[in-house]
């Protein structure tokens, strides 16, 4: 695929079946470079399954597409190398220090020793975390942990970053500060693919898609979606769209 195109991600007719169950049912979409793309959906709508395919962790049953310019069927290893991933559930090793975490993930993504050292200095500087570099990651306040894991997910300078419910359970201010980091990254040209349960965060995305029963039931900018459904906010849009769901996982 064309690496210099305008799209960071192009997905056509993606389907994933488990036995007779169709988790992802013929979805097509594209994400532009530098875009913040919100990937919404009710529990069990097929979000996680789709995201696993896009991250190169699972193969689609049918369909084709590229992520960061690599084929989702044939170049999964390359995809993994060129994307960043962060989830609230797992992102840092709590029993390693800040520095060790950076080192570890730098190593995992194949950065050389010198590059890792450079990155460590740069990152500690940027995050203003020099004083805590030898603190165990588990002992950091939640907001710091988040900043750190976000930066670590970007350590290998990926073109796309996948954020899986990055702000669940975080206090309102930290949550917003985190989104400011997402904006910063997006302004540098990094494509952001994010899932969330907070509907106000859906408003922060350039475009959102809402998955219902394995299909994409709605996809547009938050503004146009609100207009289309005559809704006051994304929460209402979501309830209208996802409220039509038929299947229970």
């Amino acid at each position: 695929m064309d690496n210099t195109g305008l799209n960071a991600m192009e997905i056509r007719n993606l389907t994933k079946r488990f036995g007779r169950f169709t988790a992802v049912d013929n979805i097509s979409f594209h994400v532009r470079k530098g875009e913040i793309f919100g990937f919404l959906g009710a529990n069990g709508a097929g979000k996680t399954t789709a995201m696993r395919i896009l991250c190169g962790l699972s193969r689609p049953t049918e369909g084709e597409g590229t992520v960061a310019g690599f084929d989702i069927n044939r170049e999964q290893e390359k995809i993994k190398k060129h994307i960043g991933y962060m989830s609230q559930k797992f992102s840092l090793y709590p029993d390693l220090t800040v520095k060790e975490n950076i080192r570890l993930f730098g190593g995992i993504y194949g950065l050389g020793d010198r590059k890792i050292k450079e990155k460590t200095v740069e990152m500690l500087d940027m995050l203003d975390m020099k004083d805590v570099r030898d603190t165990l990651a588990g002992c950091l306040p939640l907001g710091w942990k988040q900043k750190l894991s976000f930066s670590i997910a970007l350590v290998h300078e990926p073109q796309i970053i996948f954020l899986d419910e990055p702000t669940g359970g975080v206090d309102p201010e930290t949550r917003r500060r985190f989104w400011e980091m997402i904006y910063e990254a997006s302004m540098k040209g990094i494509t952001v693919f994010v899932t969330t349960h907070y509907m106000d965060e859906a408003e922060y995305c350039d475009r959102v898609s809402i998955m219902v029963d394995g299909r994409i039931a709605a996809m547009d900018t938050p503004g146009r979606l609100k207009e289309k459904y005559g809704a006051a906010d994304m929460d209402e849009v979501f309830r209208i769209v996802a409220g039509r769901a038929k299947r229970e996982e």
Partner: protein, 307 residues
């Protein structure tokens, strides 16, 4: 008449204080919300109130019974739904429900009226293993199990975490109807938008209560004026607004920014004018009443600076 009364409860794990000197009173028949982020000490407070844990200091009464001395009596009178889905994944819906009914010395038939409304939604799946249910259905089952012995106080620890917006809405509707039957509901949540659905609230941060009251009294106590500001380029606007004189704080809220400002130093018009001058010609602002989330952010900042 208070269903829950706790006085100066503290609890630490080693050196970390999980709950610091918390006192609360919850009236019978109200929905009381404990609002705060993860790690604020919500779960510890729940465990103390449900007699699962002893406080290091302080005392309390649940349903008029002493939390420490009469713990066994309290256990008969309360229903508890822990934060994590805590039912037997390898047992079916029916088996789970029957098991918990028996534990409390009752049967599903006896309390059918109490749980009917919720149970009827999952009854079609009664032979399905609990582990194979969707998030929303798991939550309904857990609620049924917590209600099956007709408790007078229901403790729900983050019942809506990880549940999608549609199911969350449904869940709160159910809570409303449970309250109507006279049950006191003590519920915690990290979602600020759910706060408005409670009769009274306590905002918790790092183990301390930073504010209590009805949703409207909390909003009334908000010390600043607030604007909702919009423009085409939202993120640059955010940065600009923060630098504007007289602006106390600025955070994004959905499709607009909430700007708290000091009315003695500036007003809506000059803030907009400043933004327009800085290259946001389409900037508009509208005076709004702050929400619970704004209150929480303000109180938590105040609390942090005091500390």
């Amino acid at each position: 008449m208070y269903s829950i009364e706790i006085d100066n409860i503290s609890k630490s794990y080693g050196k970390t204080a999980a709950v610091r000197d918390i006192s609360l009173k919850v009236e019978t028949g109200e929905i009381f919300g404990l609002i705060g982020p993860d790690g604020a000490g919500k779960t510890t407070l729940f465990r103390i109130m449900t007699t699962l844990m002893m406080p290091d200091s302080g005392k309390g009464r649940i349903c008029g019974l002493d939390m420490v001395k009469d713990y066994f009596m309290i256990r008969k009178k309360i229903g508890y739904m822990p934060g994590k889905f805590s039912l037997y994944q390898d047992l079916s819906v029916k088996e789970n429900l029957e098991f918990f009914a028996t534990l409390f010395g009752t049967t599903v038939e006896d309390s059918y009226q109490t749980i009917k409304e919720i149970y009827s939604q999952i009854e079609p799946f009664r032979d399905r293993r609990a582990g194979k249910l969707s998030g929303g259905m798991k939550q309904k089952l857990a609620l049924c199990c917590a209600l099956v012995h007709k408790p007078s106080v229901l403790f729900l620890d983050e019942p809506t975490t990880g549940v999608d917006a549609v199911s969350r809405k449904e869940f709160w509707n159910m809570l409303g109807r449970i309250r109507e039957s006279g049950v006191t509901v003590f519920v915690s949540t990290p979602y600020m938008d759910e706060a408005a659905l409670c009769d009274r609230l306590a905002l918790i941060k790092e183990g301390s209560i930073i504010g209590t009251g009805t949703p409207s009294s909390l909003v009334k106590a908000y010390p600043h004026r607030m604007l909702s500001v919009k423009a085409g380029r939202m993120y640059p606007l955010l940065k600009k607004l923060r630098e504007t004189p007289g602006v106390i704080s600025c955070f994004s809220f959905g499709d607009s920014h909430h700007v708290a400002y000091d009315a003695t130093r500036t007003d809506s018009r000059s803030i907009v004018e400043e933004a327009v001058r800085a290259g946001f010609p389409d900037c508009t602002a509208k005076e709004i009443t702050p929400g619970i989330e704004d209150c929480f952010m303000q109180l938590s900042r105040k609390w942090t600076t005091q500390d």
